[in-house]
Amino acid sequence: MDERQKLMEQIMAYDFCMIDLGLFLDTHPADANALNDFRTCYMESEKLRKQFEEKYGPINQRFLPNPRCWQWIDDPWPWAREA
């Protein structure tokens, strides 16, 4: 697995935890432990996303684009098999 994919999978892991904790919090909105875990995952994910996007381009279109090139269309898309 290359560096890019390694970093991406770390982001995916934190983002998945946020999805799971988010569902739990929907039915347990006052659970302090879950809220705290969600905060931790959010902060870790944000940090890694920033690192990733600086190096490899946008994960999401909410990203300040380079004034000369629209990197969003660059490969790989998530459904592509790893090279």
């Binding site: 991406m8 999978e9 982001i11 995916m12 983002d15 998945f16 999805i19 799971d20 988010g22 569902l23 739990f24 929907d26 039915t27 347990h28 909105p29 946008p58 994960i59 999401n60 279109q61 909410r62 898309w77 998530p78 459904w79 098999r81 790893e82």
Partner: protein, 190 residues
């Protein structure tokens, strides 16, 4: 509304083509207990949910199901990419190949195209949440069948992840149903 994240919910990297397995897995794309049906069901039902917790859970599980639809589509794509006509036919995908080449199309394992008749949005909160509980169990059972049909660990691993998620969704819908039942409290005639 939604924004797209250029990533999957869980990693998929299938190195070996296997159109036989694609023919089965495609049922979770466009079949009766598939992810498209799940997403459409919850995202339609969320409009009439009575509490903030139930509105949120339907919205957010409906959203996660879209990410699952993408995962299942990715599996089918990676299992069939570049597979020639004769191999597709030997795997039972000759009919599919005729109409769809190596494309991904929402259809069941037995070849029935997706239909909204797979889902209900009744407007009755108890009826809808009970349907959602059953839907999660049916999806879980389908994933278990698929895991038994698969041999490649690259295929089994994401299928196991998807199976797990159905168990979690069932749990959350159960909590949502109990909340609504408690709210309706005194008039428990259902």
């Amino acid at each position: 509304m939604w924004y797209y994240d250029k990533k999957l919910e869980y990693p998929i990297n299938i190195k070996k083509c296997d159109p036989r397995m694609a023919k089965f897995i495609i049922s979770q794309y466009g079949g009766p207990d598939g992810e498209l049906a799940a997403s459409l069901r919850y995202l339609s039902q969320r409009f009439h949910m009575p509490t903030k917790e139930t509105r949120a859970i339907l919205n957010d599980i409906g959203t996660e199901e879209l990410a699952h639809l993408e995962m299942v589509g990715t599996m089918v794509h990676q299992l069939t990419k570049g597979v020639p006509a004769d191999i597709m036919e030997k795997a039972g995908l000759g009919d599919f190949y005729t109409d769809h080449d190596n494309a991904v199309y929402p259809i069941s394992a037995s070849g029935v195209p997706f239909t909204a008749a797979y889902i209900q949005s009744k407007g009755d909160v108890i009826a809808d949440l009970v349907e959602d509980l059953a839907a999660e169990q049916k999806a879980r059972a389908t994933y278990e069948n698929l895991i038994r049909l698969a041999d490649d660990p690259d295929v089994k691993d994401p299928l196991r992840f998807l199976r797990e998620r159905e168990v979690v969704h069932f749990q959350r819908f159960g909590e949502a149903l109990r909340q609504v039942q408690e709210l309706m409290g005194s008039k428990k005639y259902y």
